[in-house]
Structure formats: structure tokens, C-alpha cells
Point group: D2
Chain length 380, copies 4
Amino acid sequence: MVGYAFMGAAHSHAWRTAPRFFDLPLAIEMTALAGRDAERVAAAADKLGWNSVETDWRRLVERDDIDLIDICVPGNLHAEIAIAALEAGKHVLCEKPLANSVEEAERMTAVAEAAKAQGAVAMCGFSYRRTPALSLAKRLVDEGRLGEIRHIRAQYLQDWLTDENAPLTWRLDKSKSGSGSLGDIGAHIIDAAQWIAGSNVTGVSAILETFVKERPVGGDFVGLGGHGGADGPKGPVTVDDAAVFTARFDNRAVGVFEATRFALGRKNAMRVELNGSKASLAFDFEDMNSLWFYDSADGPNSGFRKIQATEPEHPYTGNWWPVGHGLGYEHAFTHQVVDLANAIAAGEQPTPSFADALQVQRVLAAVEASAADDSRWTAV
Amino acid sequence: MVGYAFMGAAHSHAWRTAPRFFDLPLAIEMTALAGRDAERVAAAADKLGWNSVETDWRRLVERDDIDLIDICVPGNLHAEIAIAALEAGKHVLCEKPLANSVEEAERMTAVAEAAKAQGAVAMCGFSYRRTPALSLAKRLVDEGRLGEIRHIRAQYLQDWLTDENAPLTWRLDKSKSGSGSLGDIGAHIIDAAQWIAGSNVTGVSAILETFVKERPVGGDFVGLGGHGGADGPKGPVTVDDAAVFTARFDNRAVGVFEATRFALGRKNAMRVELNGSKASLAFDFEDMNSLWFYDSADGPNSGFRKIQATEPEHPYTGNWWPVGHGLGYEHAFTHQVVDLANAIAAGEQPTPSFADALQVQRVLAAVEASAADDSRWTAV
Amino acid sequence: MVGYAFMGAAHSHAWRTAPRFFDLPLAIEMTALAGRDAERVAAAADKLGWNSVETDWRRLVERDDIDLIDICVPGNLHAEIAIAALEAGKHVLCEKPLANSVEEAERMTAVAEAAKAQGAVAMCGFSYRRTPALSLAKRLVDEGRLGEIRHIRAQYLQDWLTDENAPLTWRLDKSKSGSGSLGDIGAHIIDAAQWIAGSNVTGVSAILETFVKERPVGGDFVGLGGHGGADGPKGPVTVDDAAVFTARFDNRAVGVFEATRFALGRKNAMRVELNGSKASLAFDFEDMNSLWFYDSADGPNSGFRKIQATEPEHPYTGNWWPVGHGLGYEHAFTHQVVDLANAIAAGEQPTPSFADALQVQRVLAAVEASAADDSRWTAV
Amino acid sequence: MVGYAFMGAAHSHAWRTAPRFFDLPLAIEMTALAGRDAERVAAAADKLGWNSVETDWRRLVERDDIDLIDICVPGNLHAEIAIAALEAGKHVLCEKPLANSVEEAERMTAVAEAAKAQGAVAMCGFSYRRTPALSLAKRLVDEGRLGEIRHIRAQYLQDWLTDENAPLTWRLDKSKSGSGSLGDIGAHIIDAAQWIAGSNVTGVSAILETFVKERPVGGDFVGLGGHGGADGPKGPVTVDDAAVFTARFDNRAVGVFEATRFALGRKNAMRVELNGSKASLAFDFEDMNSLWFYDSADGPNSGFRKIQATEPEHPYTGNWWPVGHGLGYEHAFTHQVVDLANAIAAGEQPTPSFADALQVQRVLAAVEASAADDSRWTAV
């Protein structure tokens, strides 16, 4: 694994936990952790449970005892690492967004497709897909329960930048993160919407906004945000604070998307709602174990049902606890590892593939292009 | 009063009820009801409690025993009636949207301003403003509790057109209604957003969509929609089924709006949320007696509070029942009458004025222009 | 009508409004209002819309132009008025609880049954039955949707006495009100539970508690409670502040009841939940237009559905507004008048009858007896 | 660790995970797993990650390489194992309820107190205490935010026995489980209520009910319940299906408790609400990352706040994910291990102690005694 921050901890937990709750066709060894700072990577490996360390990710690519490379670093490094790993015949799990540009994502996808012929598979870490309630949403759509889909509305609302003195982290530096709320959280709802609806975005009209143009350099990090010094030096915020856009899908649905880190009081409100001709469904990550489902077949006594997606029949949950004993954020990462291991063993392409992630990347690029040109309608 | 359908019943109830719960400075007489069909207007007057009837609204304008004309007919008739009434020195309460075009609305506003000098006042019936929880939202913003407003998201979601055989009513005929979901329900959220935020929309980028192009002529009406005959003749739907747009406000906030009658399961989800630098608030008419308020001053134990807007200290509610004994949809109309009567007696301009409603009309027009030109950014 | 306080206003509104929204078989005349204080009753009649006044309720009984007497005074006066009215051949609508003792309630019921033979009907005002969502709950149970009912839990939680200086009103004086939270609000949930379940309470084990033993005399009334002077004279609270009890029903269900005015933050949380072998339902008056319904027939994707009880097919709501346009507290009183008028015209017994209310009275008495004897199990 | 079923999996996960997210003062070794069936215990040890196995728990007590014994077996075995372990100088973590009788619990508590002097500590696994939102509730009460507590209502509602053919598992066999819903889930809400309120139950009046007297022997287990064969042999259910009781606390609060496995649609609704003179709080495990808090200090704009108990300042959550990224059921077990390890290292008594659990056991016994004697008031 490369990287050991927020995502590194989540992924490590997943590798450690998956075989304890699921019967996997492969044995998992947490072989090596890579990071540039020798001391810090050693401490992280000890904490997170990795057997060895490297200070150069290239060493992971070279080592014969490593079959898969898990990339948990900022987006500007994804392409180089993923391509090297795939070309060396390693399987790759790469955090989202796939890359910081469509061009990089296209190259990665091309390499992934070539590597697949050699037996190495690539997967992009849109982890929310494996939240049981969202997997259930996908299942209901695939079963045709919704009929023709007319509306898709998706929001990802956070508030950790509301404080004007929250510090300038790498997530606010375009050279590392590629974009702000758009790529970080907007990418999740674009992927979720397209995946659940089984339909791609064909065009967008967008606004990107940076409410706070400068922020303190340094400062204490707490969670994603933290508290910077109001009096110290400041640096420029080079990414968007909020991204909002309308969209059309190839199934004729009309979409509305909003991603922001300034929705005070909304902590991790990753929301998706689909309205079909026969049924509707709605999800909010702040109540992540529930899926709301409205079925017009229930007649005048229809109403949005709060399905607790914790039944043995629901995706993934039968391997955990009894009904109503909710899962948490990190479980989706464990399920991602489970599905990846199963796909590798079966010689199948895990999803989302790099091609799926490339489609998301194209939407991100269209949003940026539209926003840069006065919300002009931009085809994907 | 002119008109006696859905709005006519609501307005009649308001005129009848206002003096029973509020101390008004004026006596209210429900003098006359006008409608074209003599038999039906007589039956309606009897049912709704009007003392006389006319089959031509012009008679109301002529009668000396009438001081105020309440206009509850489709939008294509608003301008003519309102202008005649104001020019005759009558006060006017006109249903929303003010008109079917900016040009009409401008003329009406000009006449209203002239009439005001003569002592006749004009008000537009954006009744939701008087829902206590929304009035409370406005009060909190006016008190500065939200700080700088960054996001405004407003939705008006209904589902009564989801059935492809719902009948072709006047609300789907552009010549009468002017537009579809946009003017009917979109106008409400545009007005509410601008009013609560104390800020106007400066530009939009919009999509209008008509999902079902033809519908049965005739059919049974039930509520707003109903069930048409699937096999009978059909006529064209000439208005939008859904309107979605992004917006910017003159306070720098970014807005997202969505109005639709195809959000299956959402019955009357008129929703407004504002995120500020200090606090946020959210409202959903489906739970109309509550206002959700998040105050960052509460520190780490902040959370959206469900304020039951039924306290004696809250707008309007002290005149009704004890706390927690919720009000209904029609109460806002009663409050509208109360405020109008008070304004007339005090010689003040009631709100929303025709000028306020004209601003909404300009946003509606900008949305239509943008949608007609591939979502081009359109200034208001 | 006798009485013109909180209930008087609600009843007046109902008599005034019922014929405007429902087709009634009888014409309603609001003939006379009675109250002891000539000046205040005259003002109230003017405000509430009554055509004449009397300072002695006995005059209402004597007047030939009065067909029905509506009793909205404290419980200690119910028996005398209702009996006199029924014996004079008037129909009676009597506020709940029916009386302040089982003995009174028995006498009233006997007179009501005799009067019925003479064509005068009696009804007790358990108005919550006519809240559409609760009427829908009853319908679902009657249709057999719940199967065998195992649990009934009912709460009526208010908080207007939490303040130790809330004033000593008549509701806290046993000689007038009979009991405290038990008869005032507990009676409502006992009636609702028995009515919806179609089953009577057979025994109880109870606690009554008075948290605050003395309260200020006088003080300002606001809503039900208000603010008394902390330094002025105090008088004894002679009723319960809270009543909690377990119960058994004749359908074998186990019940839990709780009524209190000290549940800080719960304003009017009148809640009923039934769990059956096939389905469950839950209601909370704080969201009065919704009924939550869980149907196990929905399989693994079951979940509590939030039914917005505002459809044309739902009880009463077809006469009001389109779906999702919620009703308020007072609508149940209007529906009560509608059903009473229909029953009178049809020569049928309206429900709840005095006999139904007597059954509630017996539960109240059993609760008091149990509480007075150390929670001893007490048969009803 | 002894036992490897539902609780065994949860505890194993906790031991494995605690050092990865928390800095512990002790190293954790998962040394040995004990169970009677050699083959099954070996498979479980492999799956759950234990280094060795024993087929007799007494071997764990004898082994020198074991410092702590974690007891995850049915209640009838707790006393023997815990006493032997403590007497051998091992620390003990024992699942709840502590025992199947007060007598056993008293003996265990006496041994635990003696062992403490020898440096071995004992803790009972009321894991819900470590759910962050409930820990936050406790903190708010300890800070005096609630004022004088008047009402405590606690429910634990499940529905896995609603199906009359759910199989007869050990949880329905009194000789193993001691009691039914009472000890299994009622114990949790008794502990939570007493702990959060900082006050003990002093007396109860109770009903225990067994709705379904016989159930299929065998059958498939799924989660806690499952599907038995309707046609096969049946055996007697010897425990309660539901337990309801009223209670008084030594702080004068009035309590209502309800534990059942027949509340159809309620999956794991472990709920606690406290109403104080200054504030109220409410929790429902079905939305386990939230705490609802009503603070009357907020004045007329008070309302129950939905606090997402995921802030860095909240108990435990700073060691996991950013705000709004919810935790799941098993995290409480991890926190339990963290606090136990810290207590052992510091030479302090972890909570809940066996004495705390004995108090719960006394309440359970009083409930059973009251129910057996017609709900007679029974002092604890």
C-alpha cells in the first residue's frame, strides 16, 4: 500500500478485517507500506499492521512478494504509480478520483485494459458503492422496480471549511488534489448516480465557487479540517469550495448535483435520490444504514419506507451482525476488498473499473469546462 | 373575489376565519363572488359563504360596496383584472405568479405604484411566506443569526403528474398558466428564497423538461391531478413538467432550484435550506410546523434543532392553539388576510408587493430564456 | 355551546367551518353561547361568531331554538349539564373526559341511552379519533392488516409544567379537572388505543406522580401554561403531573401508557404504536399528517412507511386540499361535527358514545385506584 | 476467550482492532480460544484470529501466558468461569447479564472485590455504554445540563420472534439464558438508564408475557432468529417474550421500561430518553450515531437537536474518521477493550464493575418477582 493517512487507515482496516468476516478465495498478506518519510512510514506500518516498509513506492512495484498495490495518495500521483504497477503485472486498487485529468485517466485506463489481458486487474476505490443501503438501491433499480427514471438528485454536503481559518491542506491545493469539493466529494455522487441509475451523464451546466480565497498555512489538523491561526501567514486556495451543476443522463433523466464543504451543519450528507415512474428511492449517508423506498404499487397507502439495510438478504450484511445492528463508514472498504479478492480469484474485472472511473473523470472535466465558460452547456 | 376553485376555497376560508382568531382593524364582509357560469358561481358562493354573485368580474370593479378584489383565477387573467381594480381604487390581492409575462407584471406594478398614491394597495399571494416556520426562518436571518449566506437550495417536489394518464388540466395549458411547474411551484421557492435570504437572484442557468408530451383530454379530477382515460383522445402538454436551475444571488450565495411534479412520493415537498457562515436553517412543507436550525454557536454539541414553530413567541401562532398543536396549509392564507388588513388600515404597503412579485417574474423569465438557449447563463 | 376558552374556540371554528368543506344533511346555526360572566361571554360570542348569549347554561336547555348543546367546560360540570340537556331532548356533544368520576359517567350514560330512544343523541369529544392519520390507523386495523396485536404503547408527552413557576390553573385543581395529566391527556391515549385496537383494557398497574407540589396563584396564562410569579403566594397542586401504567387488553395485547406534562421538549407528542403479528403502525401528533406503517408482507425490503394521510382516499382529507397540503389540530373538531351531524340526520348513534367514554372513565378510575395502592394490579 | 458465536465474533474484532486505532498502554495478544467442540473451536480460532485453542475453558485459567479471560458464553456458565479466573489472578471481561441469578451475581461480585486487592480486575460487558452517542449522553448529564431528572423512558424493541415458527434457540431456554427479553435486552436498557441518570432503580411493577408458548426445535438460524419448520416437533419456550415495567429511581424520577422481541418493524430499537428540568435527551440505536438533545436554555427557539456524535470532541470518535462518517455496532466493543486495557494499566477499576452489574441483576430479579405476583410493587 502506498500512503497512510485517512484513506490509508481505512484501507488497512479493510485488508485486516475482510478475511475475518468473509470467506475469501485468497489469503491476504499485508506485506509492505510505502511512504517517503522513513520514520513516519515505519510508525504507520506498526500502527496499521503492515509487515515491512519502503520509502519509495517503486520498491513495491519491484518486489516479488507483492501481488497487489493499493494506492492511497493524492490524485497527482495516481497515474504514475498505477501505470507502473499494472505494467509490472500487479493488481491495482486506486483511490478516487482516478486521476487529476482526463488525459491521465485515459492513459491509466488503456494500461489497465492491456494489463487485464496479462492477468492483472485494476479497480478504482469509489467505496460508497459498497455501503449496503446503496448496493440495495442499485439492486432495486436493476430489478426494474423504479420504472423509467425521471429525476436524479445528488448532494454531497460537508461543512469543514465553513470556518474561514480552517488550514490550507493538500486538499485545497490544485496541484495535488486536482480540484476541491468537485473531485473529492462530487466525484462520489457522480459515480453513485451513474452506477445506481445505470446511465451516464451526457452533459452539464455548472458553477464552481471558492468562497474563501486565502487560508492559514499550517495550523492544527483535526479530522479533515481543523483550526488554523487567524493571524499567521495565508496562502491561496486554488480549488473550488463548492460545485453545483445541472445534468442530463442518457436515459432522459434530469439531474441536479451539489457538492460543497460549506453546508454548515451537514457533516457527511452524501445523498442520492432517484424518482422513477413506478418507484423512488433516497439515501443519505448521515443515516447510512437506511434506504428510503417509495413504491407506488402500495397504492394510496404508499409512503417512503425506511428500509434498514441490515437484513441477511441485503448486500453484505449477512456476514456481520443481526438486523438493526448498524454498520459504519469503514465497512464499505472491507466490502471493496472482498469483491476485489473474489474478482481476482475468478479472473473477472472488478467494478468500478478504470473505464468506469474515466467516465466520472469526463464528467468532472465537463463541469470544470462549463464553469470556466459561464455555465455553458458542455457535453461529456 | 374572482374564482372559486382550489385557491378560491382557500381564500374564502381565510376571509371567514381571520377575524375569529385575530383582532383586525377592519371589518371583513364577504360581499360578492364572481365567475362566468351563473349556476356554478351561485353554488360556490353558497358553499363558500359569499353574500352575492356576479357573472362578470367587471361588476365587482364597478360596485361601490366592494373595497378589495381578490383574484383567484389562472394567470392569463391577472393583469386585466388587477389593473382595472386598482384603477377603480380597489385594493387588490392577486394570486401568484403575478402574471404570465414580465411585460404584464411590469404594467401591473406600474399601476399598483400609481394606485398606492391614491390609497389602494396591491399584494401578491405568495402565501407560503406566512407559514409560521418560514416566517420564523426569515426572522432568524433578519436577526443576523446566519452570518454570511453561502448556499441556498430550494426544491418544490410534487408527484401528481407521474401517472402518464393524469388529465390535461388548465395547469398544463401554457395559454392559461403561462408555464408549468416553473410558475406554479417554482415561483413559490424563488419568492421564498429571495425573501428569506433578503437577496435577489442575479442570474440563472436552467433546464426545462416535459417528460410526458401528451395527456388525455377530460378525465376525472382528483386534487390537482386525477385519472384520465388511457384510451381517449389526447392533447399536447404545452408547459414544463420540471424546472431545474443553478443561480447566483446578489449576496454572493450560490443557489440550486428544482421544481417538479414528477418526484414520485414527494407530495408537497416545498423545501428551502440556507447555509450561512454562522448558522443554517432548513424547512420542508411536508413537516410544515417545524423549522430546522443549526447554530454553530452551540459548539461541538451543535446539531440541527427541530424547532416546533408553534410557540406563543413565534409568528402568528400565539393566536391559535397551545404549542405542539400544529397548523395546516390554509392558515398561511388566513395570516395573509390578517397582514393585508393591517397594512390597509395602517396605510402601509403590504408584502409581497407587486414589485416583489415582478422580481420573481423576472427570474421565471430568465429561467425560460436560459432553458430555451441550451442553459446559457442568463442575467435577471 | 357552553364555555368559550381553548375548547370553545376549537368547537366554534368547527361549527363554522364544517358546512364550508363538507356537504351536511343539516343546516348549522350557531345560536347561543353560554357563560357566567355577561361581559366576557358577550365578547366571546362576538369573537367566535355566536348569535346570542346566555349567562346561565340552563337557558340553553330551555330554549326551543336550540337542538344541540356542546359542552366545553371543566369536567366537574359535565354531568349536570349533559343530563339536563338530554332530558330536555337536546342532542349533546360533551368534551372529554366524560366526567370526573365513574359514578357520574354511569349516570350520564344511562341518561344518554334513555334519551336515544327519544331521538336525542350524545357524543363525547375524543377529537383525536378524527385526525385523518389516526382514522386511517383504525381502518388498517379493521381491515385485519395487523394480524394479532401483541403490543400497544401510547404516550402523551407535553412539557408546559416543567417550569416550577407555571401558574396554578384550573387544570391543576382536582375539584374542577378531576385529575391532572391522567384525565386531560391520558384519557385521549386510552381512548385512542382502545378504539384503534378494537379492544378494551382489562387491568392496570399504575404510578401517579406530582413533581411540583405548589405553584403560584395567578400569573399570566400563555397557551396552556404560562409564567407565574416566583415570589408571590402559592397554592397546592392537587392533581398528578404524570401518570404511567402497564395494562392488559382483552385481545391479549400488553400495553404501556405514559401521560405527562413534564417531558421537556415534547410539546404535544400524542403517540400510539401497535405491533401486530403481520404489521405495525405508529403515530405521533407532532407530525400529525403522517402515519407510519410497517407491513411484513413487503418482505426483506419492509420498512416503516411514512404515509402522508392526505390522499383523496384517506378519511376526511378528500374534502380539503391536494395531497401533501397538511391539516392542523382543529380539523379533527370539524370532522367531529361532520360525523355528528351525519349521525343525527341518519338517526344513528355517533361515536364515541357516552358508553365508550364510560369505558375510558373506568380505566382512569382503575389507574387512580392502583396508584393509590402501591401499583397493585387493578381490574377495569 | 471462551465462546465464539455472535458475541465471540464481536469481541474478537474488538481485541484485533483496538490497538490499530487507539494508543494502548498494553500489548494485546489473542492467545487462545476455548470451546467444547474441538473441530468447531479450531475453525473459529482460525477465522477469528486466535493463536491457539482449548476444548476446556479451565485450561485458559491454568495457562500462564494468559492474563485476561473474556467470557462470551450463555449466562448459566458465567459464575463458574469468572470465579475460577479471578481466583487464578486473571483479569475478567464477562458478557452481560452478569449471571442468571442474584445469588450468582453476588458471589461473583464478592470474588471480584477480593481479586481486585490481588491486582485482577473484573468488568461486565454492557457494551452499549461505549456507543459514542450514549457516552455523550452520560457526559451531558454529568455536566448537570439536564437539571433534575423527572422522566426516564427506555425501550428495547426487536422483532425477530414475531414469526411463530422462529426456532427454539438457547436464548429461549431458561436453563441457559436465565430469562428472555428481560435479561437479554432489558438488562441493557436498565444498565444504560441507571448509568446515564446516575441513579438506581428502587422498585418496579412488572408484566412478563410469553406470546408464543411453543416453537420448532431445530430450524435454520439466521441472525438471532431464523425460520423453523412449521410441521416438525416443537418444544416449550421457557422465557418471557416481552417485559414491561414501571419503576422509580432514587433521584425521584419515574421510569417506564419495555423490552420485547415482538415489536414488528423495530429491529434494534434500543432507546433511552431522559427529561430533566433544564434539558432532555433521547437516543435510538437504530440511528446510533446521533444524540437528540433539547436545551431549554435555547429559549423559544429550542428544539431537539440531532447531534451527530462524531466530532473530535466527542467520546472515542476522534480516533476514527472525520465527522459524519458514522461508526457501527461493533465499535462499542472496541471501546470497551480500550477502556479495559487503560484501567488495567492504571491499576483502576474499569466500569461497569461486577457491583454495577449486580445492581442490574437485582432489578431483573425484582421484575421477575413482581411479574410472578400480579405486578405487585417490588423493591430492588
